[in-house]
Point group: C2
């Protein structure tokens, strides 16, 4: 590769975005010539951090989703020559600007339109927005194939599998590792009274709020199972989930000859991000501690308890149904997590709401509708939100009745 | 690949050779058309098993090293149309017959001439004879490069690294795992009175006698360190050894971006053999149990104790010196192991004899002689044997003096 690699980061102020910029900074500092160059930085509402990032990294364009903050962004970047824009459409347009790789790191289904736009425009993707693959997996894969575009998984688990993935027909099984979350050892009874604060305290990974709750319910692992199925064209019964509390083995691929290949490392998102940004090259990320197996001394593995954590079985159900079911599951989960974080529902309501939304969807009129366009997925999302709002209200009643 | 893959197995009656034939049998049984076809089977002295293998697998040629047994071999294969030959030269000639891959599985430096002959003839190699790489690494690598021949490592550790090896310039470090052998927890005092029977009882791998003793002294791991250095062009200070008693992670490669890639599997040589015989394809080997991390529950890692087990430091010393030093180390070890198995020396004499032989060699006249031909290596071997015989006699005196 000659010259710096041009990147756009959609979701630059979040956990993944800031880690990515740390990787960029370190790589550029370590090399004689810049390794990366930033085209676009896009964020939701954190205008101060966005403006600061744009200045420090010499971005060409900074985009804020919240249109009311366009003025503040323009003021902060006055005289820098950095272009500014605001609104959802501006983010979609920015993702389509030609670059070497777009890091899709907007959280939730909100990231889907810009991911699709980037692939449509022929941009290679570092995919950290798992909801894009969950809701639009088959469509995104087909689009990427048609455009000749690489989708490099950036979630640590999928990046791990990608690193050790050879020919698909030789693969016997994927083994997705799960830390087990903060409630791995909690009793079923204790789960009833979990607070947002408890659920946000993840033992291994330092992440955003939504994904931290998903890690506590294990919906994160279930969504990753759906993502892995679509990314690697594997049926759900060929994907095992193993609880591995230390989060050192980030996932494994088992081959027909008995070989199991794995990627290991300290739980630090800079490693998969650096890999996904530079693949097929590799570069040294900022200050990631080398893995020290002797210091770790022990790696543990446990079965998944699907009684206390029904999320993964629900995700398997959604995946087997296919079509809009993963989108419904994802939307119901997003809404239920938001309600939980806002103090408007309980921890165990999350899986109940998702289960009921999925039940009602698969027996409803839209169950077999295809998901081959953003519009069709958005229509399913709207239906999912309708079902979920009703269910969240029901959950509240149930909770008062307890 | 079209048509069956033609194999020759040098060392077919040993532990690796019989596992390889189990892989061949299973692969052929599982496929509609034969996956493998056997050209040559060569063995040292087990004429009955060799003849039986040649019949069962329909070999074209069976070669026995022990010339006194040629008659017995010919008798046993009369009427089958299978050619027979005997003697070291016949084995060398057999290795040069054009095939798709030669499995080099003769134990010890005895395997070197046929390995060189196979590469010289342009045959691709599955290398299970680590002594070839230890004694003639730089020369074999240069020869293979010149001939455009692949050397696929078949030792489980090197095969593991080979499976996850990407560009060498991106590699930070190799991490060689060691089971620790049967005396991992023995006191230094207890090692003084170890018997051959105790040393042959390896906790994880079922192997031949010589390699089992090498596993008990950890010379096996040290030889593997030298082998890895030559195979993958890595300096010794970039190769860590980690004790991993379960032998599930067969070795790891650490990259500059913090990723550590590893191959895992149950301790069953059929997996690396199947991989090395079919690479770049993969096939299902006979009856290898799928890895079950949950059933294993725990993987442990410990530092290496180089006080009780000086073998690896001795191997590092030999590697740093280079030239004939690894050959001297290997020959001294082979002779000392033979003496130990015959009851003519003690367990701890092995490392003492190796250390002293190495000392005397590097301060002697042949220390800087080059090793770029079989003849030059054989001259160093002769010198090593001279040094070692004297040292074994000294060891006996020392032992009587105790």
């Amino acid at each position: 590769m000659t010259g710096p690699r041009r990147l756009s980061i959609m979701g630059s102020t979040g956990s993944i975005g800031t880690s990515a910029l740390a990787v960029v900074e370190h790589a550029n500092a370590m090399a004689a010539d810049p390794v990366f160059e930033i085209d676009t930085l896009a964020a939701g509402r954190n205008v101060d951090l966005l403006a600061q990032q744009a200045r420090v990294f010499g971005a060409r364009l900074a985009v804020i989703a919240d249109e009311t903050q366009h003025g503040a962004l323009a003021d902060a970047l006055q005289g820098t020559g950095i272009q500014t824009a605001a609104g959802e459409d501006a983010i979609i347009a920015a993702a389509a600007r030609p670059v070497d790789r777009v890091l899709a790191a907007i959280v939730g289904i909100a990231g889907l339109p810009s991911t699709i736009a980037a692939v449509e425009a022929g941009n290679s993707i570092a995919l950290a927005n798992k909801e894009s693959m969950v809701c639009a997996g088959p469509m995104l894969k087909a689009l990427a194939r048609r455009k000749g575009v690489e989708i490099v998984p950036t979630d640590s688990e999928h990046n791990a599998m990608f690193q050790v993935m050879e020919r698909r027909e030789d693969v016997d099984k994927l083994i997705l590792t799960a830390s087990g979350g903060p409630f791995r050892k909690s009793s079923a009874a204790a789960l009833k009274s979990v607070t947002p604060k408890q659920a946000l305290a993840h033992p291994r990974w330092n992440m955003g709020d939504k994904i931290s709750i998903d890690s506590a319910t294990l919906f994160n692992k279930g969504l990753e199972l759906i993502e892995a199925a679509y990314l690697f064209d594997m049926p759900e019964d060929k994907i095992d989930v193993v609880v591995h509390p230390q989060s050192i083995i980030h996932s494994l691929v088992a081959y027909r000859d008995g070989s199991v290949l794995a990627q290991l490392g300290n739980p630090d998102m800079r490693t998969p991000i650096a890999h996904a940004l530079t693949w097929p090259d590799r570069r040294q990320p900022a200050g990631v501690e080398p893995l020290d197996l002797v210091a770790l001394s022990q790696l543990d593995f446990e079965p998944l308890d699907s009684i206390r954590f029904p999320a993964i079985d629900l995700c398997r159900t959604a995946l087997r149904h296919g079509k809009g079911a993963p989108t419904v599951l994802n939307c119901a989960n997003e809404a239920a997590v938001a309600a939980f974080l806002a103090g408007n529902s309980r921890f165990l309501d999350i899986s109940w709401v998702v289960e009921m939304a999925l039940d009602r969807f698969v027996s409803g009129q839209m169950a077999n509708q295809s998901c081959d366009s953003l519009d069709s997925i958005m229509a399913i999302e709207a239906e999912a939100m309708r079902l979920t709002r009703a269910l969240l209200a029901e959950a509240l009643t149930r909770s008062e009745g307890v």
